[in-house]
Subunit: 313 residues, 4 copies
């Protein structure tokens, strides 16, 4: 952490979009995705292939307790009850049923950060006070504002494949140059309103032996990608790591890219995406752009959401 | 309930697809949706419009407790904590964060039934024993098998608009003739592997004053649509009611359509879908077919899943 | 609400115990219960009778959702699983087991308010700032500080029995005179460090048809009992209502007795206690004093706790 | 595991109490605790000392996820909200409040096993079928039947102190002889209806570095204490380990003592009790008998319960 946090304030001064879409905006960079971009996304569907980008929500996940625990499925009616006659008294004839609940952190597995997830100096996206997020949830910038969003064009930047390595090293800071190199190698270009999907290989390397995957050191986007993300009008970034950006952080601030990109630029950050099957599919046919359909759950006031994310290509 | 349950056994004998896709199949009618169908779905995206089909997951939902409660958001870090200095000890610099969890029944709001949700005489889809569903969840037919599915072509059958009424009456049994009439009026035809999305108007009529919406009388598909659903190779049915099929039931069995269509035909049933915005959009331009992107959460072993469902058109 | 809130500030000025037991005290009026008082409590055990004062924690409780929901038991291993052979793979021999979890508000049923539950002008018991209670719980005055408390002498004031009525009217404000009258009629006197247990009959009147029992109008202690509670050195008050004090409130403040008695006097308030069996037992033999054993769960940082409360007599 | 399971069946044949208290009994050995025993318990209160036997319910507990997770406190209203003005809209005047919920396994910390927790060959206490325990909980032998129980005389058997060691070795099987030796050394005798509280020192040795404390090897009661427990009419056994009995098990059966003592003798097993403060107090004055007040929560249908357990002496 040798650089000065001055870069943080400098980036905020130069790249903040607060007010750009009006004082009441709660969509952020999703405003960059309009009808034209959505049509362009759908036009990428050529093979009729659907690939899940979501890892299983269950007790095998990467969390280790404390703030965040792995999702827990709890059954409220079971097939074994049916066989034991426990549903007989309900008078359902030949029908039996199973039912269940989940207890899950909104950010414990594959997920989108809502714009209410991160504050910079007590303010969130578009300048709303942190006081708008209370124990009752977010009165501003809740994830529900994206309940008809996150359907968009996306490009995969697959650095391990590009480099011929299993995974980037923990602590590797991905630069705009790295991204451009990968795009050039795969012959795709980013468009305004795109989702940038970056595979680091860390999930593949850690799967099942998570260790400190959730919260520890990781490869990820450099803080210094901010100008590139801004100029390219990237609307969303998703990675196969727990926090999109490189860790340890490059300056003496925690998650400085979150502070600029989420709070001031309004980007959607997607974390813990499982990109390995997508990687294989893209490598097989050389097509690194696809339609992303990854609409979060409409959970009122939530700071994030799990998602059944798919790449359609 | 004047008809004999004989129809149930007759339908099962004639329309069961057990074994059709092999003894280990856990996808059911999703097998009907292949690359060609997915390409056809994407080809329906013309205006670049995305419409949410999911109602809010919060305490304003239709559940009344007991087996199923409305979703509950619980915050584990808040903006107010940030303002009060409670995150200072974490050493995060100028960053603050909010975090949260949800406790939710998988079937309390907009949701898909998994093929493990319903049993007929102690068996679920493809003949698996109900013993495969225990307090640990579903060892067979869990919702995770559809984590790359439910992206498909869909048609909207909007009967209230067709009839010029706010909503069908509770207890109204929608027939194959009704469906065909609506399709003809809107100039669309169903294709194999389609999702049939049926709007009854009940959600619009009950919204905010739910009463017995979740579990009470409702308009819905007649049991006697089974031959039509089978012959048309419909892969999914979604409605704006809690249970797809008409209630009270037409024969002396509980949810007989569930017993045939889910257990024996392998269909995906989508319930509590919010179809009002879609209704308005379709009425505005007369196009009643669209791309449905409604992939469930990859919750291992779950009997259903909430979903961020969207119509793309 | 005709009286002036001036009484609130006047009572606080006269009766606040902040600092009485040192600047770090987190026990409040439990300091009034020492070894002598505990011995005196045990000496009240004559018949060897134990009576539960706790109502069932289940979905039949009085809550109606929103902030507080009724407790929910969720099973994680069942007897029906055992019968279906689902535990066979565990290799437990002839043993089978059931297991479960609860999701419950700490204050949804029979419970004690912790001293961190209520703030007056942003401060809690002993003057600690409300900033000490964050989304992680209470750093001060959490219920765990009473994990070796709430074993004490108690007296029952059973006003419906005294008056020969089923229940006091909703909105009836119980005065010090009412309490003294009941004590005199039953021949008991309060001692320093006692728990004052007051039965209003409201639970008996509402049981199973709760309506607005949790949060609505109720009989309860008058704000004007403050001087009496202070002078008698009462350490805890428990009632069969949701909030100890009368509702509607007598002055233009919400729960003013909470603001004085909990925040400034450090009392333990016990709510939703089921006193009907105790009432019958006391009426049968005329003994209205007993040993109370009602230690809360040692939940770190909690603002309240459910309790397996018993009267021993 | 060299002995034959024949001993299990032999013990059951000789010591089963099924039917002893009638075919509908759901109290088990708690029937041994009557008025006389309760008076005797209260008579042990001499110093007016109350000692908590409950460890903190929080994320520092011994569980490691999977079937059982450590208790989780979740706040639903916070002091920081109050300070940020988030409760202003509620119109509460100068009052603010904190509120919270817990999600906790009933058996993840200090707890009592209910008689519905364990099955032997598909049957639980008094012969009820395991079919009586479904996903809705226990229709028989739920913990609520003890909501006016577990107030009783208790003796502490403190083997580490007796032996002058920090803790018994994992795998050490405590015999009736060991217990008698400790009782003799401390000059106390057990009485019918007593709780036998056995300290192994394992909690002291593992506290904060739990490792496999919950579920791994442990010192504990030998299966061969069954005749002694039966003849002495012990009603409850509590230890500072996760499972009362020694692990690894002495015969080729899982938790054979549970199968005999809980299922067939109806004993209350108390697990993960924190006995270190009690140990110090007993050592200080040499009195090893006390009044136990450890009534479980009245959770309808639960297979166990957390408890605010105290020793009163």
């Amino acid at each position: 952490m040798t650089a000065q946090p001055a870069v943080l304030e400098d980036y905020i001064a130069r790249y903040s979009r607060w007010g750009l879409w009006g004082p009441d905006d709660q969509l952020g960079a999703m405003n960059l995705v309009g009808p034209e971009e959505i049509r362009a996304a759908a036009a990428l569907v050529r093979d009729g292939q659907v690939i899940s980008l979501t890892m299983p929500y269950d007790q095998t996940g990467p969390q280790r307790g404390g703030l965040r625990s792995n999702p827990r499925l709890i059954t409220t009616a079971t097939g074994t009850d049916v066989l034991a006659g426990a549903q007989d008294r309900l008078g359902l004839g030949s029908l039996g049923f199973a039912d269940d609940m989940v207890i899950m952190g909104t950010q414990t597995g594959t997920q989108w950060d809502a714009l209410s997830h991160i504050f910079h100096k007590g303010r969130m996206w578009n300048g709303y006070s942190a006081a708008e997020h209370t124990s009752r949830g977010a009165a501003r910038n809740g994830i529900q504002h994206w309940s008809d969003r996150l359907v968009m064009r996306a490009v995969l930047v697959d650095l391990p494949v590009l480099r011929g390595i299993p995974a980037l090293d923990d602590g590797y800071a991905i630069t705009a140059g790295d991204i451009e190199e990968a795009l050039a190698a795969t012959g795709v270009s980013v468009q305004p309103g795109d989702a940038l999907v970056v595979r680091t290989g860390q999930m593949a390397a850690r799967r099942g032996q998570w260790g400190d995957y959730a919260g520890g050191d990781a490869p990820g986007l450099s803080l210094y990608t901010v100008p590139w993300l801004f100029e390219k009008n990237i609307a969303a970034v998703a990675t196969d790591t727990y926090g999109v950006e490189v860790s340890p952080n490059e300056i003496d601030e925690f998650q400085p890219l979150h502070q600029v990109a989420i709070v001031h630029m309004g980007l959607a950050f997607g974390e813990i995406f499982d990109l390995d099957a997508l990687s294989a599919a893209c490598a097989a046919d050389g097509r690194y752009e696809f339609m992303l359909a990854a609409t979060p759950l409409k959970i009122t006031g939530a700071a994030g959401s799990p998602v059944g994310a798919v790449a359609i290509r």
